[in-house]
């Protein structure tokens, strides 16, 4: 057998293994823990103020519980996100954006063999955002929504038992529906007890566009 034929056979065998579907999909553990990188890309010009490359990098932790369906599962998930971005501003100051958010949502996960789970996920959440221009800052809160399509790679720790814990690798791409955040009253931090600074006037910076493409790379474990 020529090497070319050999590689074709290997690929076919691998695909067959991946797509081989034990019927006990619903028997997989229901609880999943995930953590990883959740970034959003906003191409609006105003976002350049806080990041040179249009990214809002976030760290995410999530917990999900699955309800079994036929050859699929419906996962209810809650997550916590935190992160931020910063950029030099006119060579004299730094503009920083910080985000802390929570989200809940549901994912429909289709079972394709032992190892592959494509999914569609929708989440709604609440973000606390802080914009800082030098010593001035402002916090605002607003709702968010995220829709993702992705694929999970599932690696059971015991390949002979469907109910054994599994490692997960998630890759999802979608869109973050975040409304423009209005920063219209940036002010210095409130003074300490012993301080009595001259009262400050606030500064209006404008609206920061935050909607954009979202993508997530997460590792997890299913118990």
């Amino acid at each position: 057998m020529s090497p070319r034929h050999l590689s074709v056979v290997r690929a076919a065998v691998l695909l067959a293994v991946v797509l081989s579907s034990p019927a006990e999909a619903s028997a997989r553990p229901p609880l999943s823990l995930r953590l990883g990188y959740a970034s959003q890309v906003s191409t609006a010009r105003a976002y350049d103020l806080v990041d040179e490359n249009d990214h809002l990098p976030l760290f995410r932790v999530g917990v999900a519980y699955a309800f079994p369906l036929k050859r699929s599962r419906l996962e209810v998930e809650g997550g916590f996100l935190t992160g931020g971005s910063s950029a030099s501003l006119h060579q004299v100051a730094t503009a920083k954006l910080g985000l802390v958010g929570v989200e809940v949502g549901a994912a429909y996960r289709l079972r394709l063999g032992t190892y592959v789970e494509p999914y569609a996920q929708a989440l709604v959440g609440y973000d606390r955002l802080r914009l800082e221009l030098g010593p001035l800052g402002q916090r605002v809160g607003q709702v968010s929504a995220t829709a993702l399509l992705g694929v999970s790679l599932v690696f059971p720790l015991n390949s002979y038992s469907a109910t054994a814990p599994s490692f997960l690798f998630d890759l999802g791409v979608g869109y973050g529906f975040r409304p423009d955040a209005r920063f219209d009253a940036l002010a210095p931090e409130p003074p300490g007890e012993d301080e009595e600074p001259v009262p400050s006037q606030s500064l209006r910076a404008g609206d920061l566009p935050l909607a954009g493409v979202a993508y997530r790379l997460q590792l997890g474990i299913r118990l």
């Binding site: 105003a46 350049d48 221009l133 869109y175 001259v198 500064l203 954009g212």
Partner: protein, 499 residues
């Protein structure tokens, strides 16, 4: 569709890893020098294309203007004029900072300086040699433009002089029939009527005879009626008095050489209270150490005052008296041009600055150091006695050299900030009462906004904008208000405008 429009480029960027950042965010902020209206500070920020208004009790407001702002001047009321645009589309923008309205006038050239008549009706735009560079390799700097603000009309014409470039623009007081303008040059002066600049243009050489070279104009003053132009020329003792009049389309000028003493160092218009001096000028002679009131026609008797010291500067107070002084000397002389009375006093040291309260007939001199050590202020007041003027000095020691100061001329209040200290003080020149206020940062410049009776203390960060606004009659921290980073007002909206 909107989602798709955003999604596609974002996916491309995602694959590439990054997108280009708006260039202007990387540019260093270099706002033009602060301007003031009656009740607001105004900062023109070329890098963000904004005029920012800072007023007590309000958030800074940013008004969008064209890119490329390079020079600004305050006109009457709340209007600020800005030269903006580039060599392809130069602009003059008139910004009403209260109404946030911008009127734009297209210009025939990217001029470098602007000056306006007292009534804001006419503006004159000129070039300077400093604008030459890679973008503009050569230019006829004799070319100027007259802007009729009401008609939004621009008249471009060449002065046609032998000089390289204009030095300054001086407007005569506005008149119903005419608006004379003098442009001083390194060789001579050009005078024209802004109402009819192309036809009513007169070039006036500044030399005593055909065999002598022309000399540069150091100072130019119009008489109150605007029909006489007084010139002080480099290295010449005579005052040039140019009498102007219109005959038809033509502007006629006749020159008188007004001889006085030697070493002409300053000229000023005489007090309005002095009778018969409407067409006269006060001339100060450092060489012969005297001051004179010279009539433009040379027909009146010359009023003369021996100064007793080589004083170089004159300032006319609102009460009709004239103060003569010189920075390094200690002599200050007062002269009442009407009565002829005078008086002299000796300051405790030389000074580096002086502020006048014309209404109260007083002056405050700043001494960086005095013999006893440390810095000081001297309040100089003038009182009339039977036979002379009594010039009185009240010395006020200060802890450090004065870094910034400003005078409320109407009420005679002198505000000052010592160098490096987060404090400012108010000195009442009438009662010599002093009050002080501690701020949160040292003060580098002071401005007085009479419309709100507010002081603006600028701190050490002019690029980002950092001022404290204080009610002038209530020097209390609780009543003050600090406004920081105001040059970044509207920064996000500005960023979204970038292509």
């Amino acid at each position: 569709m909107r989602l798709i429009r955003q999604l596609l480029p974002a996916l491309v960027l995602l694959a590439a890893g990054c997108g280009d950042r708006a260039d202007f965010l990387a540019q260093a902020l270099k706002p033009l020098p602060l301007l003031t209206t009656a009740d607001a500070l105004v900062s023109v920020v070329p890098q963000t294309s904004r005029v920012v208004r800072v007023r007590k009790g309000e958030q800074p407001q940013a008004i969008p203007i064209a890119h490329g702002a390079r020079r600004a001047a305050r006109l009457q009321g709340d209007v600020v004029a800005v030269l903006a645009g580039d060599t392809r589309r130069p602009l003059l923008q008139l910004v009403s900072v209260d109404g946030a309205e911008v009127r734009t006038v297209d210009l025939p050239g990217a001029y470098d300086t602007l000056a306006f008549s007292a009534d804001n009706r006419y503006g004159v735009l000129t070039y300077t040699p400093a604008s030459l560079g890679p973008d503009v390799v050569a230019r006829n700097l004799n070319e100027v433009a007259v802007v009729d603000v009401e008609a939004r009309a621009v008249t471009r014409f060449a002065l046609g002089t032998e000089s390289l470039a204009p030095r300054s623009v001086v407007f005569a007081p506005p008149h119903a029939d005419r608006q004379y303008v003098a442009i001083t040059l390194d060789r001579g002066v050009a005078v024209f009527d802004a109402k009819d600049p192309r036809r009513a243009l007169r070039r006036i050489p500044t030399r005593l005879s055909e065999t002598q070279p022309e000399v540069a104009v150091q100072e130019a003053l119009f008489s109150p009626a605007g029909d006489v132009l007084f010139l002080r020329l480099a290295g010449m003792d005579d005052v040039f008095a140019v009498e102007l009049r219109r005959e038809g389309d033509e502007l006629l000028a006749s020159v008188n050489f007004l001889a006085g003493g030697t070493g002409l160092s300053d000229i000023s218009l005489p007090p309005e209270a002095a009778p018969g001096t409407e067409r006269s000028v006060v001339a100060v002679y450092a060489g012969s150490q005297e001051a004179m009131v010279l009539d433009a026609s040379g027909t009146q008797d010359v009023r003369r005052l021996p100064l007793g010291a080589p004083l170089t500067s004159a300032h006319v107070l609102a009460d009709g008296r004239v103060l003569f002084y010189e920075g390094k000397l200690r002599t200050v002389t007062a002269w009442d041009v009407v009565t002829g009375k005078s008086g002299t006093v000796l300051l405790s040291a030389g000074f580096d600055g002086v502020r006048f309260s014309d209404a109260l007939g007083a002056a405050v001199f700043r001494h960086p150091s005095v013999a006893s050590g440390g810095a000081a202020l001297s309040v100089v007041t003038v009182r009339e006695e039977d036979t002379r003027l009594r010039v009185r000095i009240s010395p006020i020691p200060v802890s450090r050299t004065v870094q910034a100061d400003v005078m409320d001329e109407t009420r005679g209040r002198f505000y000052f900030a010592p160098q490096g200290l987060p404090a400012l003080a108010r000195l009442d020149v009438e009662t010599l009462g002093i009050e002080q206020l501690t701020l949160d940062a040292p003060v580098t410049a002071l401005y007085y906004l009479p419309g709100q009776d507010v002081l603006a203390a600028q701190h050490s960060d002019p690029a980002l904008g950092d001022v404290t606004l204080i009610p002038a009659d209530r020097l209390e921290r609780g009543a003050a208000e600090r406004v920081r980073y105001f040059t970044l007002a509207d920064a996000l909206d500005r960023a979204s405008e970038e292509p």
